[in-house]
Each structure stands twice: as C-alpha cells, then as structure tokens.
Subunit: 309 residues, 2 copies
Amino acid sequence: MVGIDVGGTTVKGVLVDADGNIYAKNETDSCRSGGCDLTDKIVGLIELLLSSTTDSRGKISGVGIGCPGIIDGRGGMVVFAGNLNLRNYPLADAVRGKTGVPVRLTNDANAAAFGEKIFGVGKNYKDVVMITLGTGVGSGIVIDGKLYEGSRTSGAELGHMTIVEDGRRCSCGRRGCFETYASATALMSDVRSAMFANRNSLLWKKVDPEKVDCRVVFDLAEADNTAKNVVDDYIRHVACGITNIANIFRPEAVIIGGGISGQGDRLVKPLQNYLDCNILGGNKYAPVKILAATLKNGAGALGAAALFL
Amino acid sequence: MVGIDVGGTTVKGVLVDADGNIYAKNETDSCRSGGCDLTDKIVGLIELLLSSTTDSRGKISGVGIGCPGIIDGRGGMVVFAGNLNLRNYPLADAVRGKTGVPVRLTNDANAAAFGEKIFGVGKNYKDVVMITLGTGVGSGIVIDGKLYEGSRTSGAELGHMTIVEDGRRCSCGRRGCFETYASATALMSDVRSAMFANRNSLLWKKVDPEKVDCRVVFDLAEADNTAKNVVDDYIRHVACGITNIANIFRPEAVIIGGGISGQGDRLVKPLQNYLDCNILGGNKYAPVKILAATLKNGAGALGAAALFL
C-alpha cells in the first residue's frame, strides 16, 4: 500500500507491505494553492514511490491519505483545511481519478494513531488512544483494532476537552481545553513566563527567550528549580488529561507522540505514576500503560497506508 | 429475552421480544447477603416472569443482567459491588447453572445506555452516549450500535473526567470530577448551600433544607434569583462535561437520564444552546443532539435484555 501524510509544509509518502516493511519513502513540499495542485503533488509523489521499486502499480492495493483539518472520511472529502486553503474538496476522488487506485482518507492525527497501533509501539494492543503534543494536541482513538472517528469523522478531539473550567482561552472558543495546558506551544509559553519572572534561574541565564524549545526545560529541571516547577506543572496537566482519557476509554495503552515524547522516561515515568495513583479503582485490574510513540514523523504515512489492511 | 436490572434496593425484571414489546414485568427487593442469595432472587424473578405468560422457557434466547459496580462482562463476573456485598462472584455462570439459559452481564449504566439506544429515545442513532445524573454520574457509550466498555469492561466512566483541575474532592480520590458538579447529589448540596447563604430567597422560605429535591429548584428558578443562580451554575457544569463528551466522541446524540431529566426542556434547551455555541467547529456539520431519556427506570432492564439482540 501507499501512505501519504499531508502536512502544512511537506507531503510525506511511503510504499509499504502489510508487515510495515518500507520499500520506498519520499516527500515533497505542500502547496497552499488549492485542491488541484495538492492532488498533482500527491499523484507525483505516488509515481515517484512506485518508480523507485520493481513493484508495479497493479500490486498496490490502495493509497491512504492522512490530512489535517475537518475530514469527511466516508465521503473522501476535505471539508476544511485552513493551512492548505481547502474547502469541500473531494481529495480521494481526485487522486483516484488520476491513479486508478482505490483511495481512503482520514484526519492526520487519526492516521498517526493508527500507524502507531498497527506498526509501532501499540501493535500488541487492541484499544489504544494516542495524543500528539505539538502546536496543539492532536488525538486518535483505536477501538477493537479499528479507528473510531465519530459522527462524520469529526470526533476524537481530545485536545478540546476542558480540564480547567474558566481556564486558559483556547483557539476553539472555549476555556481550559486540554491543549491550552498540554501542547508544546503551552509548555514553551510557560517556560518563557517562568524565565521572565525568575531572572536568577538557570533557565533565564542559559536560554534565549526567542529560542525556547521543550527539550531545554527538561534538561535544566534537575539543576534548576524554576525549570523543575515548569516541568512539574506541565506533567500534572498532561497527566490530568490522560487520567480522564483512561477513565473514559480504559484503553490498554495511551501513546504519546510529538517532539516532547522524545523525553522518554523523563516524561512517561511521572505520568504513569500519576495515572497509577489517580485512575478510577486503581491501575491493577485493567491496567492502562503510557507509552512514548516510536514511529515519530513516520506514523502518519504508515497509518494512512494501514487504512488498506 | 429477559432483562434484569440489579439495583441497590430492588431487582427489576422484564420479558420482552426483539421489538421491545413487554410481555411481563416484575421486581423484587435486592439482598446484601452475597452472591448465592442474589442468584436465587434473580432466578425467582425469571420464573415469575416466565410463569406470567404463555411463553415457555424454551423460547427465551437469553437473560441479560445489568449490575452496579466493577463488572467483568466477558467473564460474567461481578468483580466488586460494595452495595451488594459482592466480590469476584461469577453471577452469569450461577444464573446460567440454575436456569439453563445463556446469560450476559454488563454494568448497570451501560445497560441503561443500551436500553435507550435500542428501545428508547436513541433508537434512530448509531453512536450515542448516555449520562445518568443521579447519586453519581453514570454513563454508557454505544459506538456503531454496540456497547463500548473499554478494557476488561472498566471504561465509560465519564463521571470521573476532571472538568475543574483542583476542584471539588471526588469519592474516587481525584478532584474536580464531572460528577462532583453534575450529579443530583451535587445539585442538592448546592441548593442547600445557597439557601443558607440567602435567607431572603424564596428557596429558603419555601423549602425544608432536610427535604431538598432537584425539582423544586427548577420550579423556583423563574421567580427566585437564588434558585436561578443555582440552576444556571449547575447547567453550565453539566454543559461543560457534555461539550467535552461531544468533542471526544462526536456522537449523534447525548442522552440524559436520571430524575433530573424529567425537567425536559428546562434542562435540555439551555444545555443544547451551550453545546451549539461551544462544540468544536460548530454544531452544524456533524450535529450532536441532547435528548432526555424516555424509558426512565425501565432502561436498565430493557438494555440488559437487548444484550441478546
């Protein structure tokens, strides 16, 4: 199968078999000039992937596409994707028309979750929820091995679960959404506030406020109280949302993606500890494990391909 | 099929066909003296239901049981039900052993949700979530027409989703759980606090603080500011949780059960209005409807019976 992951800046593609063996991998830049151009980019990428192997197009069972925005998976439509300048564009039909190959479409966060479930750290579990801590908080839900996307594939928006009523203002219009506390954007903003408020801290001394990244605050947390407080607060918020998710879905695993998941045990261990102490009825009878994603940026394209498994 | 709804004080039973036509209905008191007695009560109730019609036992496809507590549906076990004094009791096997009829077991809140989905207000929808606003907040999730129960049937605990980090203490050990704001218990406690704090209010003048119920505060809300504030605050909390549920599942309908749902439009209209204004991306593309339950106390037994559809 071919999997395509449409992002704001690049379109990634992989050619894989049912075991996740990658035969070809490539990418191109995204375009913001509308549906036809995006279709051409995707079709070009598919050609490139196929030409780089001895596999013929006849062997391709389908092309899966993960795309940001509001996606109507069943209709194969991009209902709205602001970054890509798309509205009500029949992407699946367009790509099918030019390649003659079946096409399936889902939201990019769903594709990433499905990728980790099928080929990544979630492969031994049946029910998993993935949250991606990035600019916002993306999420995907896999129930009984299948993606759960909600009515008209509009669900699985765990980033827009209020955890602090009357809390921070969210881009969605509500207050206190999980993503206003748990996204990488939120963490970086918290780091900046803490730096300016604590000018004796290592954080202030060692970090350029214009170049804050998430890694540095974890690196400094052992030696610097200001950094430690920011990390502790951040982890408490993330853990609160994950405990909600665990009580709601009781999945076998919650997978954490996004750059911050590279912190590994520094992130996962305290989260697991909080969850074990706070999940309803304790975490022994039906344990929920917290896992860092392993496929990194490749999860979306792999998961899109897996739509044809 | 026969459906049994085990409660803290009564065990209800119905004999129904696949269309929800009720052929017999009865109930008995619960017992707290352990599994064998409960089994005998249930078996007695089944006999009573069967003897009251011309249907023979041979025609019964199965007995579904909804039971409070931690339930292992697949194993047919009541893992823990404090009110019933049960721990690791194989209720399904015990009832099957004495009746010779297949038995299925689920949590009582799941059974109620399934009842409303199959025979009640949710019957025209595929994906519905039900919350029951009672002593706590019970909940059940129906995805693609099937109950979603989570790993070892321990999920669907929407009442234990934190909506106010560091908020009210919950019996589960966390703070700010949905049920600490949205249960009938919470509303009654809020009414009492408001009464004592506002001794010029109609609420204080007309209501005995020892006999507060949820209806009276809705009744007085039109004429009394104190009552109105309590109702408005309560609705805002319930709406916050429902909006979370809508963003997470994007179901076609959220069904509200429990005594408070008898308030009908006085409850449902402002909730729907809040949801329409706050759901991610607006409530037009993939609309979520809020509905008051219609089967009332009968939902649990009907839903338990429906486990055999």
